[in-house]
């Protein structure tokens, strides 16, 4: 019973979120401008062409009617056709998904071990120079705006040294019917800089979290007991401390993975990485409303789903945590 109400609560929450977001996004883009000017060639089209195109896209209708039509279509699983690319909007989003997914995954694969390792070491040597350095470096790293970090990575990694390409996705290989970069050497090479840009703030975040977790665990009785028993510090760290701090770390990894989907907007734009984030920014600039709506919906659903998964994981891993419907 409790489980069911939690799940329905979650769904209701997600549903409300989508409705609110779609309404705001819809009105927002509508008020910004008329996308017809991106579709017809303003340099050759007559005013009549423009008027007819506006009618054909249904943009002459009052906004509330357009919204109802949109809702009706969405319920039957159709986000409409992109004004610019003339393809189903949702298909476009899905087509860009592998790029974003692999970028975020690689970034997290870098960030999680690095961050945890740094945090463990700093926590063990609390108060030492090393600890203070890690702490300060993490505050600094969290202070770098992601776009500037990305630009500096390009400056150092691509322009000054020429080690890495400055943008683009490189060659891809097909797997599960999708194109992936990480399967080719060239693609991996292209992944290094954008993935680092996403990973660095997360390394800092995870390091701080695991540092404070380590300090807390080290002060607990059972760790003292282990130490008294004569276990090697390394064994204590890996066999006792690490499992004990893993819950919050996995939580933050899950949450940040969702956050990466959003921050990918910035990083993907700078590295011209053809993912969901870049699609969102491009579509906003082009007023391609169906694609904007599909992308926003997708990111929101992914984010909510990830949060739910993290909570579920919590409940499974830590019996003290009970799912509560009051969030």
């Amino acid at each position: 019973m409790g489980m069911i109400s939690v799940v329905t609560g979650r769904f209701l929450q997600a549903f409300l979120l989508l409705i609110a977001m779609s309404l705001i996004g819809f009105i927002g883009i509508h008020s910004v401008g008329n996308p017809v000017f991106n579709i017809v060639n303003i340099e050759t089209a007559t005013p009549e062409d423009i008027r007819r195109a506006t009618v054909a896209l249904g943009l002459d209708q009052p906004i509330w009617r357009q919204y109802l039509v949109f809702l009706d279509n969405v319920v039957s699983g159709n986000f409409g056709t992109s004004y610019i690319y003339h393809l189903p909007a949702f298909e476009l989003v899905i087509a860009k998904l592998p790029a974003t997914l692999e970028l975020a995954s690689v970034a997290m694969l870098i960030a999680a071990p690095f961050g945890t390792g740094l945090g463990l070491i700093a926590g063990r040597r609390r108060g030492t120079l090393l600890d203070r350095t890690v702490l300060r470096a993490s505050v600094s790293a969290l202070s770098i705006p992601s776009f500037w970090l990305a630009m500096m990575l390009i400056l150092v990694g691509a322009i000054l040294t020429g080690w890495f390409p400055s943008g683009g996705r490189g060659s891809t290989a097909s797997f599960l019917g999708q194109d992936w970069s990480f399967l080719t050497a060239n693609g991996l090479w292209h992944l290094v800089l954008p993935a680092s840009a996403l990973a660095i703030p997360n390394i800092a975040l995870i390091a701080r979290l695991s540092r404070s977790g380590t300090i807390e665990v080290e002060n607990l009785d059972h760790t003292r007991f282990c130490r008294a028993k004569g276990l090697s510090p390394r064994r204590i760290l890996l066999r006792h401390t690490l499992p004990n701090i893993s819950v919050p770390i996995v939580t933050i990894i899950g949450l940040q993975f969702g956050g990466m989907l959003a921050f990918a907007v910035v990083v993907e734009s700078i590295f011209s990485w053809p993912g969901v984030g870049k699609l969102l920014i491009d579509s906003i600039q082009l007023l391609d409303r169906p694609v904007v709506m599909a992308t926003l919906t997708f990111i929101a659903v992914a984010f909510v789903a990830l949060n739910a998964l993290v909570d579920l994981f919590h409940a499974v891993l830590d019996p003290r945590v009970r799912l509560s419907s009051q969030r």
């Binding site: 989508l18 017809v36 000017f37 303003i42 050759t44 054909a56 610019i84 690319y85 997708f298 992914a302």
Partner: protein, 537 residues
């Protein structure tokens, strides 16, 4: 919200999640590296091919790439003179009738023969069948009354009124193959199964906004291309195109930003450039009595100052085109005083852009009754044309020198257009291109008249009866020096009145790597494999 919808939305959410988690996409794994084909020509282009329908939208984004597959009856050479394409010759039979002789032995990619019937199909499809929003080509053929074919290689076209420019119009229209029945829809074409033209390349594959692959048409009627296959990669970010070219990932990259040319050359690639057959300009609203954002120095609204030609001349005189061309376009542009770069047919040798003359501009402004200048908002698009947003600020710097306070305001292209259409701007930066000088004058300077189709881009509603008459007369003259002279004179008359301030003709810049011998530029600015000649042998 009914409960049923709620449940359906829930189902949708679940579906979305499962897609996200990769449950749905589980086709068999088939990892395979792409074989590096040395003979393939790889081009990074800014033109994102948005549809495979050659008649959908008259945008370079589409036409540049589709010109490999489809051909036109008439071509334009680098001087914009007409030359034979699928038609070998054409002549007017009377004021309203044209005859086109078609090329023999031309075959479509599916093996069928090219005949007069296909020309008829193409015209009918554009004129009668295509539904909005696809309407960019309609104006070229809307004046056509009837099409007849005395024999399979002759087309006679009858127009409602005289259309001396008809051959020129056909230099923009891609000829399609008449299917066994009915008309192809845009959706059909977007599947890629029926992209059949007569062009030097056949369609292989396409992914929207990302890639287009082509293979050589070995039974092409003209010179065969040196490249067995061509792959276009759509790279919208200029910096990424530059990077792809300098690392050798592609052989050709188009629309290179002028400021990147020097550093690109240092890294090896070579550059080709040509003045574009287009103009960027400042346009004034000369019709309304008061204008938004136009005030005196104390902020009080004033009567529209742009109705006074002296004010327009003063602002033109105070515009430092040198900064625009040399600094913002890094030298890859030509200062403009008319609609096309000097030397192209229909341009006037008497109109040249000089350096700014602030003193005279100030005295003109004083004579017009604005000794202290005034305030205005100078609007423009951002990221549409090379140097657009930067130009707004540079122009504001120039105008400030004669006391005119211009506040630059840049917006994304569609936002800019929506606001201009809504009358929110008083003076703005714009750009246009056209097949010929008269096409631009017809749209940009001639008085707005929906009936005659003039002044479609004359958003400032400038009216000049003397110019209209001169332009109409010039348009009635057959292609040739006489017509060009008449157009040049009409341009001189209009520019003396300064309905627009021509700013610059930016250059199309293409970079190419070591596998390319040379790249032949064309002022229309398309990027094609046909213009790319391989290095060596």
């Amino acid at each position: 919200m009914k409960l049923g919808n709620l449940i359906r939305a829930g189902v949708l959410c679940t579906l979305l999640m499962s897609i996200f988690l990769g449950i749905v996409s589980s086709t068999p794994a088939q990892a395979q590296g792409q074989a590096e084909d040395q003979a393939e020509l790889r081009i990074a282009t800014s033109y994102k091919l948005m549809t495979l329908d050659p008649h959908f939208a008259n945008l370079n984004e589409n036409t540049s790439l589709l010109s490999h597959i489809y051909e036109r009856l008439v071509y334009q050479d680098e001087k914009l003179e007409l030359k034979p394409g699928l038609a070998t010759s054409w002549r007017p039979l009377s004021d309203t009738r044209w005859e086109f002789k078609l090329r023999e032995n031309v075959r479509f990619h599916d093996g069928s023969e090219f005949t007069a019937d296909d020309v008829g199909y193409t015209i009918e499809r554009i004129r009668d069948v295509l539904k909005p929003p696809s309407g960019g080509f309609r104006s070229y053929v809307s004046g056509i009354k009837a099409i007849s074919a005395p024999d399979p290689l002759t087309v006679v076209i009858q127009t409602n009124a005289p259309v001396p420019n008809l051959p020129l119009f056909f230099s923009s229209i891609f000829v399609m193959n008449r299917p066994s029945e009915g008309y192809q829809t845009t959706e059909d074409l977007n599947t890629g199964r029926s992209s059949i033209g007569t062009g030097p390349y056949r369609f292989e594959s396409w992914s929207s906004g990302e890639r287009l692959r082509l293979a050589r048409n070995d039974s092409y009627w003209g010179d065969k291309s040196a490249w067995p296959t061509v792959s276009f990669r759509v790279v919208e970010n200029p910096a990424a195109r530059v990077a792809a070219l300098s690392t050798g990932e592609v052989d050709v990259a188009d629309a290179i930003p002028a400021r990147d040319v020097a550093s690109l050359k240092e890294r090896g690639p070579r550059i080709a450039n040509i003045g574009a057959a287009r103009v960027n300009f400042v346009q004034f609203d000369v019709s309304r009595d008061t204008l938004p954002g136009v005030t005196d120095k104390s902020g009080k609204p004033i009567a529209n100052p742009f109705k006074n030609p002296l004010v327009r001349r003063a602002l033109a005189m105070a515009t430092d085109r040198g900064v625009l061309v040399d600094k913002i376009l890094a030298g890859y542009g030509t200062a403009a005083a008319q609609v096309f770069p000097n030397g192209l047919p229909g341009t006037s040798g008497n109109l040249t852009a000089g350096p700014p003359n602030y003193d005279e501009a100030r005295s003109l402004l004083a004579r017009a009754g604005f000794p202290d200048g005034f305030n205005l908002v100078l609007a423009g698009p951002a990221g549409r044309y090379p140097g657009d947003a930067e130009s707004l600020q540079a122009i504001a710097q120039s105008w400030a020198r004669i006391g005119v306070n211009a506040q630059p305001s840049a917006a994304p292209f569609s936002v800019f257009n929506s606001k201009r259409a809504a009358g929110e701007y008083a003076v703005w930066y714009g750009g246009t291109s056209g097949e010929a000088v008269d096409v631009i004058l017809h749209a940009l300077v001639a008085s707005p008249d929906p009936e005659r189709g003039t002044g479609a881009l004359n958003f400032g509603k400038y009216q000049n009866a003397a110019f209209d008459a001169m332009l109409a007369k010039a348009e009635g003259i057959k292609e040739g020096p006489e017509r060009n002279q008449a157009l040049a004179e009409a341009t001189e008359l209009a520019m003396a009145d300064q309905p627009i301030i021509p700013l610059y003709h930016f250059h199309h810049i293409v970079g190419f790597g070591p596998r390319i011998g040379s790249y032949v530029m064309h002022p229309r600015g398309w990027t094609t494999a046909m213009q790319t000649l391989p290095a060596g042998e």
